[in-house]
Symmetry: D2
Subunit: 313 residues, 4 copies
C-alpha cells in the first residue's frame, strides 16, 4: 500500500513547508534593563549558543563574564558584544575540567564583578562516533568537560554564594537526548544526563540558600561548534528537518530569549524545571506511530476501510 | 541522633525564610502589543489561573474569549479585564464535557472573532478523596472535564484550523503529579496524564499543519477553586510550603507571564515541551534523601565522622 | 557522503540478522505450582496477549477468570486452556465501559472463586487514524475501554478487597508510547497514559491495604487484534523490525512469563514499577542520533577524519 | 483539623503493618540449570547485592567471576558460594576507575572463562553529604567509580564481544533517585543518571551486535555497604519504611531473582528497560498529595462535607 520511500517522509506535504507558520522572533523579549545591576557568568560564552545568551543578557543590562579555554576568542566576543550593548563583558580563561583553574577563575570573577547572580553552564564538547571506537580517553574528554566541568563550576560558585548568603539562578544547557540516551553520542548523552540529575538534586537541596536550578534541552540549532562535529558532511541535516514538526532548526536568538527568561526574576518561582526547546523533534522521534505521517489521504481511506471490516481479535 | 520532629523540617533555617531570595515579579513581561491582532481562547478563563492568563494576554493586545459553564462569572471577569486593558474580552458559555456544546461554542467564536491563534486549555475539576470512596460517577465527573473536555476542545478547533490552513499555539495546564501520579487525587492525576499524552502526540502529528502544543505543570498557586477542594481546612498548606525549595507558593501573575511567553511567537520553535513551574516542589518531593535537609550542621559533623570510620562493605 | 537510502537503515548489517542472538524462550519460567490456590482475573483474556497470560497463570496453578464482551470467544479459550492445564478457567461476559456491568461481573466472580489475588487489566481497543479524522465518538470508544474500563474494574475490585482485608497484585498492560505520546493513535496514547498515572497513584495510596500496582509496556507483538487495526496492510511491520535493536517482534509467551513474575510473590516488593518490554524499540526511536546506524565503517573513517580537522567553535 | 503529628504518618493503620501482605519469596525463581554453560561477570560481587546476585546465578548453573578492589573479600565470597552451589566462582581484583586495570581484568577473564555472556555492573560508592561540603575530590571519588567505572567495564567488554561476534546481556544497578535527582547524595545521583543514559544509548546502538542493556533501580535493601554510609545512625530507616507502600525494605535475594530473570534468555526481548524495584517508595515520595494518607476516616468525612459545600471558583 505505502512503499518504503513513502514511509520515510517524502510524500504529501513537502517537508518543512510548515516552517512558514513558525517564524523565529529574535528581538530581545524581556523589558530593557531587566538585568541591570546583575552579574552573569556564561561558560563557553565566546561562541555559538553561549555567545547568543551573553549578547541578550548584556543587552538587557547585565554585566557578563564569559569563560572558556580560548582567551582570544573570548576577548573578541567580549569586545564585539560590549561595543554593541554598552555594557561591560569580561573574558576569563578557564578550563572547566580543572578544579583549580575553576577556583582561580572564580577568584578573578570575585575581583572583577563580585559573585554572579546568574550562572549559565553552557560549555560542552561532543562528536559523533560508534561506541566500539571510543577509547577511555575519548570517553573522559567529553565527560570531564560536560559533567565534571559543570559540577566543579557549580559547586565552587555554590559554596561561595552560600558563604556570602547571596542567591543566584543556575541554568544548565543539556540536550534532548539526555533522558532517552542516544547511540553514537554516548559520552555526551551520559554526561548530560548526569548534569540534569545534578541540577534537579541541587534545586531540591539548595533552595534554602536562595538558589534556583533549571535546565534547557535544545534541539538542533546551527552553530559551528556543534554541527562540525555532529554532522560534518551536512548529510544528516535534511533528515533532521524532515522530522521536526515545526519544519526548521532553531536559532541562537530564540534560545537566548528563553534562557534570559529562566534566569530572570520573572521566573523566580521556577526551579527544578527541564525545558525542552526543539521544534518538537523529541516527541516526533519518540512516538511509535509518527512515521505514518507519510501515509496519504487516499491511503488513509483504504486503511480505514480495511480496519472497519476487521471482526474480532 | 536526629529526632522525629527534626526529620520533618523544623530545625535549622526557618522554613520559608528563603522566600526573600525569590520575590515574584508580576508585571507583564512581554513587549506591549505582543498579541496585537491575535485571538486567544482560554477555557476556564473566568476564575483563578485562567483569569490571570486572560488578563495578561489582553493587556498584551490579544482579543480574548473565555469559556466555561458559569456565564455570569465569565461576563463579570470579561468586563473587568476589558475595562482595564481596553481590549475586548468575550464570554461564551460552554460545558467542555459536551462535544455538541463545544462545537456550538466554536461556531460562536468563529462568528465573534474568527478562529483563535492561541488556545489555552485550562478548565478542570478536582477534589481530594481516598480512592476507595470514589464512585464511578465521581471518577467520570473529573475525567470528563479534564481529559474529554480538553480533547473535545482541541480536536474541534484543530479540525477547523486545519481546514482553514491556519496555524495556532495550543497550551494545556496540567499539574506536577501528572507524571508521577498521586494518591487522593487519582481521577485528576489520570486525566491530566492523558492530557499530556494528547498534547505530546499532537505536537508530533500536527506540526505539519502549523500547530504547536505545549504543557505547563503548575505547582501550588492559591486560587479559590483549587484550594477550597484540595485543602479545605488549610492544614496542608504549611507542609507544602515547608517542602517547596523557593519557600513560597506561586502567584497567578507569574504563571500568566510564562503562559504568554509559551503562546507567543518568541516561542514559535517550542513544541512538545512540558514545563514544570512549581518552586521546585516536585524535585524536592521525589528525591529520596531530601529529608536530610533537617539534619543540623553539628549532626552532619557527627555523621561524617561515623561514615569515615566505616571500613568495607 | 551517505545517501537518503542509506540513512534509513538499509546498509551494513542486514536488518534483523541479529535476531539470532535473541531467541525467545517460551517455556513457563516460574516453578510449577507458583499460583496454586490463587485466583486470577484477566480482562480481555480470551484473545492475544491476555490469552497467553491466562495460559501461563493457569499452567502455574492459578484458577483463572477471563472477562470481555464476546462470551463465545471467552468460552472457547477457557475450555482450551483448562483442558491443557487441568486447572479451571472461568469465562465471564463483561463490557468494562459499563460500571454496572463491572459490578455484576465482580459479583459473579465472588460467587465463582472469591475475590481474585491477581488482577491483570489487559482489555483495550485501538486503531490508527489521523487525529483530524477522529469524531468525539471515536475518541470515546477508545478512552472508555482503556481508561474508564481499567478504572471501573480496578476501583470496584479495590473497594471489595479492602473491605475484605485481602491483598492483591494489580497489573496493567499499557504501551511504549504512553509516556512519549504518538500521533495517529492519539486516543490510545492518552488513555494508556491515564492508566499509568492511575496505577502509580494507587501503588502509593493502597499499599497500606496490601495491594501492589505495576505496569508492563509492550512493544510490538503480533496478535490479530492489534495488528489488524494498527497495520492492516502489513506495510508498517518491516520498518518496525528494522528499528528494533533485538531484530524481531516479541512473542505472547515471553510477555506471559514477565506478567507471571510481576504477579507472583517473587515480586512482592515490586510496586509502582513501569516495565518496558519492547526489544529496545523505544530507546531506538527516541535517541536523536540513532539513525547513524546506517553509516558504514568506511564512512565512519571519513567522518572521523573530518571531525579531527575541525578547529574551534 | 489534622495536626502536624498526624500529617507525618503516625495515625490510622500502624505503619508497616501491611508488610504481612508482601512476604519476600527468596527461593531461586528460574528453572535450575537456566545459566548452565554461561559465564557471568558481577562487579562488586563480593558483598551486598552483588554477592546475592552472584549466589543466585551460580545456583542456576552459571560460572561466575566477581571483581572489585578487595581480593580477600572476593575470595572468601567466591569460596563460600561455590562450595554451596558446586559451580566455580572466580575472584579477580580490579579497580574499575582505572581503564588499564579494567583491560587487564578482562584479559584475565578471557583466560579463565572466555568472555562473559552476562555482565552485571553493580560496583558503586556513595555517602550522604551536604553538597556545599563536597570537595572536587569527593565528587570524583564517587563519579569515577559509578560512571567512569561502569563505562570502562562496559566499553572494554563490548569491544571484545563485538570482535568475537558474541552476544551478551548487560545489566546496570542504579537507584530510584537517578531520574529525579536527590539532595545529599548528589555525586551518586549524577553518576547513576549517567549510567542510565549509557545503557539506554547502547541498547539502541549495540543491539545489532547481539547485546542487550537493562537497568534495575533498587530502593532500600539493607546491606552493610549502603546503610553504613547512607544512614550510619539508623535514624533514617524508620521514616523510609513509613513511606514505603509495601511496608518493608527489600531483600538481597529478591533483587537477585529479578536480576537473574533480566539476564536470562526468558528476557531475551528485553532491552533498554528501566525497572524500579523499591516497594513503591518512589511513587510514594513523588506524588504531591500522598501525605494525606495520615488523614483519618473521620477527618475525611469532615473534609468531604466542607468540599461539598464549596460553591464556585
Ligand atoms: N547547537 C546545538 O544544536 C545544540 C544542541 C543541543 C545542545 N547544545 C548544547 O549547547 C551548548 C553550546 O553549544 P554550541 O552549539 O554553542 O557549541 P560551541 O560553540 O562549540 O560551544 C561550546 C563552548 O564550550 C567551550 N568549551 C569547550 N571545552 C571547554 C573547557 N574544557 N573549558 C571551558 N570551556 C569549554 C568552548 O570554548 P573553548 O573552545 O574556548 O573552550 C565553546 O565556547 C553545549 O552545551 C551543547 O551541548 C547545542
Ligand atoms: N491552582 C493551583 O494550585 C493549580 C495547581 C496545579 C494545576 N492547576 C490547574 O490550573 C487550572 C486552573 O485552576 P484554578 O486553580 O484556576 O482553579 P479554578 O478557578 O477552579 O479554575 C477551573 C476553571 O475550570 C472551569 N470549568 C470547570 N468545569 C468546567 C466545564 N465542565 N466546562 C467548562 N469549564 C469548566 C471553571 O469554570 P466554571 O465553574 O464556570 O465552569 C473554572 O473557571 C486547572 O487546570 C488546574 O488543574 C492549578
Ligand atoms: N499486541 C501488541 O503489539 C501490543 C502492543 C502494545 C500494547 N498492547 C496491549 O496489549 C493488550 C492486549 O492486546 P492484544 O494485542 O492482545 O489485542 P486483542 O487480542 O485485541 O486484545 C484486546 C482484548 O480486549 C477485549 N476488549 C475490548 N473491548 C472490551 C470491552 N469494552 N470490555 C471488555 N473487554 C474488551 C477484547 O475482547 P472482546 O472483543 O471479547 O471484548 C480482547 O480480548 C492491550 O491492552 C493492548 O493495548 C498490545
Ligand atoms: N543497598 C541498597 O539499598 C541500594 C539501593 C540503591 C542502589 N544500590 C546499588 O546496589 C549496588 C550494590 O550496593 P550494595 O548495597 O550491595 O553495597 P556494597 O556492598 O557496598 O557494594 C558495592 C560494591 O562495589 C565495589 N566497589 C567499590 N568501589 C569499587 C572500585 N573502585 N572498583 C571495583 N569495585 C568497587 C565494592 O567492593 P570493593 O570494596 O572490594 O571494591 C562493593 O563490593 C550499588 O550499585 C548501589 O549503588 C543499593
Amino acid at each position: 500500500l505505502y512503499n518504503h520511500h513513502q514511509l520515510h517522509g517524502s510524500t504529501g506535504l513537502r517537508s518543512g513547508s510548515q516552517a512558514n507558520f513558525f517564524p523565529p522572533l529574535e528581538d530581545a523579549m524581556l523589558p530593557s534593563g531587566s538585568f541591570n545591576n546583575r552579574m552573569a557568568l556564561i561558560t563557553g560564552g565566546g561562541t555559538g549558543l553561549g555567545r547568543a545568551m551573553t549578547a541578550t543578557l548584556s543587552q538587557l543590562g547585565a554585566q557578563c563574564i564569559i569563560a572558556s579555554r580560548k582567551l582570544d576568542v573570548l576577548q573578541r566576543t567580549a569586545e564585539e558584544i560590549s561595543s554593541q550593548t554598552g555594557n561591560k563583558v569580561h573574558a576569563v580563561q578557564c578550563d572547566v575540567r580543572d578544579p583549580q583553574a575553576v577556583s582561580q577563575c572564580v577568584d578573578q570573577i570575585e575581583a572583577l564583578t563580585g559573585l554572579p547572580d546568574v550562572i549559565i553552564n553552557n560549555a560542552a564538547g561532543n562528536f559523533v562516533c560508534p561506541s566500539e571506537r571510543l577509547s577511555p580517553n575519548a570517553w573522559k574528554t567529553i565527560t570531564d568537560i560536560v559533567l565534571n566541568g559543570t559540577a566543579f563550576v557549580t559547586l565552587e560558585l555554590g559554596k561561595r554564594l552560600i558563604q556570602n548568603q547571596k542567591g543566584a539562578s543556575f541554568l544548565a544547557i543539556t540536550t534532548i537526548y539526555a533522558e532517552s540516551g542516544s547511540g553514537f553520542v554516548v559520552p555526551s548523552a551520559s554526561a548530560k544526563a548526569g548534569v540534569e540529575a545534578l541540577y534537579k538534586s541541587l534545586a531540591a537541596e539548595w533552595g534554602r540558600y536562595g538558589h534556583r536550578f533549571n535546565i534547557i534541552q535544545p534541539g538542533p540549532i546551527r552553530t559551528k561548534g556543534a554541527f562540525s562535529r555532529l554532522d560534518p558532511t551536512g548529510a544528516f541535516e535534511k533528515a533532521m528537518i524532515d522530522r521536526i514538526p515545526t519544519g526548521r532548526l532553531g536559532t541562537p536568538a530564540e534560545i537566548a530569549n528563553l534562557a534570559a527568561y529562566v534566569s530572570s526574576n520573572y521566573a523566580s518561582w521556577m526551579s527544578g524545571a527541564v525545558i525542552r526547546f526543539d521544534g518538537g523533534e523529541y516527541v516526533s522521534l519518540a512516538g511509535e506511530f509518527n512515521e505514518l505521517r507519510s501515509v496519504t489521504p487516499d491511503q488513509w481511506k483504504l486503511l480505514e476501510a480495511m480496519i472497519r471490516k476487521t471482526k474480532g481479535s
